[in-house]
Symmetry: C2
Subunit: 277 residues, 2 copies
Amino acid sequence: VADAPLSPRNARVTAARRLLRARTSEHEGRFLAEGPQAVREALQSDRAVDVVHETFVSATGRARHADLVDRAMALGIRVDDVDDATMADLAGTVTPQGIVAVCSRVDVPLDAVLARSPRLVAFLAQVRDPGNAGTVIRTADAAGADAVVVSDSSVDVHNPKAVRASAGSLFHLPISLDVHFAVALDRLRTAGLRVLAADAAGERDLDDEADAGGLDGPTVWVFGNEAWGLPADVRDACDAVVHVPIHGRAESLNLATAAAVCLYASARAHRHGHASP
Amino acid sequence: VADAPLSPRNARVTAARRLLRARTSEHEGRFLAEGPQAVREALQSDRAVDVVHETFVSATGRARHADLVDRAMALGIRVDDVDDATMADLAGTVTPQGIVAVCSRVDVPLDAVLARSPRLVAFLAQVRDPGNAGTVIRTADAAGADAVVVSDSSVDVHNPKAVRASAGSLFHLPISLDVHFAVALDRLRTAGLRVLAADAAGERDLDDEADAGGLDGPTVWVFGNEAWGLPADVRDACDAVVHVPIHGRAESLNLATAAAVCLYASARAHRHGHASP
């Protein structure tokens, strides 16, 4: 049953709203996850009570997402009612879906990622567009990647657009944040992963690489900024620079689709071995 | 050299601005292509003078895209100067890039597509999001598809967001519009193409399909609406319903990334044959 909505000036509402500022969010170690998809996946995390601190629902959200409200309450997680204007504020989108959760920011130390002997890792190097970052996280999850690593000069994956694009995958696989590019690459390579940069200017063709068995072992794929591609020093630090073949007249693929083709080529090589025609 | 900018009430400007309305655009058979990437590809079309009717540039656009202005003038295509406010109006975006072109709407009859014995076709069935539609067109172009076919209930591919997402590919490969789904599928199948629906609920796994040689022949991939997937009658009309394998915990891929994985699996099968481990 809904209580009276909290005042927009209520201390919990005010504290939650402040998490929309990146600096506050970082300082508090918490962020706002918006919409039923993100909230559902947060509530289904392994240690959901450590991940989800409280939730806010509008009247519409409470009616429409009763399953999530029930699950939060069963876990002893607070559910507070807010009016539509407050929900719109907290959701940070023009089309709020009636439910937001205050969650712990994700960040798994690189050591913990390496301790699990990852076979497929996506590395976001200077990815600036939050939609692209979120979509690559979703795609890496789907392709069975063991982790996502994000360089210190990339967009914040807790940005509302990134959270939305990740479609809940932010809560599904370990994500290491703010790693220094060169240091992280060294450690991944020392741990036995082959480092492949995905870049339209790469000298190797993805299909040839797959045919030659180059994708059969543990691999980290490095994806850069769509507009500039990867800087020369990043490309040089990788074991090979691979391009997705362009068979038609398009100049390039967008970052998220190129990442999908690369990650799924690795997933296929890991499961089916390489073609031997 | 720039002339004085046209008045916002100039007849050419007014006529161009009206093309932002879908109905006027359809009626006139013309649309506004915004930004240097789209304008460049339009100007590099086979019969550019039939494709591009006139261009408008802001002072910034004229300076920044001098190569395009020169090319248009060399082809005898009119280049008119407009002020920044008029450019923002015509561009239909909050970040105009200083150049727009009045172009003929794309639409190649399905007969003409079939006459060229296509081996790979992307079929957009009820795709509603313009960004997704444009991205699939770009990806189909990159993957070497011979054509894109768009059902009568899909988004208009001339929508500014779709044009932007297509990154010029709208002008690269034949696109058939407003086809009736069932009629078009029958004709594609009669022309010897295997019809595969891409759907998360599909009973066949993409990798298994590739291994079994199911992608080796001429293929049309049918992509539906991200939110609902494909309607049952559409799935039933296809030769098989195929899902991209989900190896992790993601519920699904987004439409554009799923399409990229499917189209590139076909491109690989057509060029490298299927794996025979």
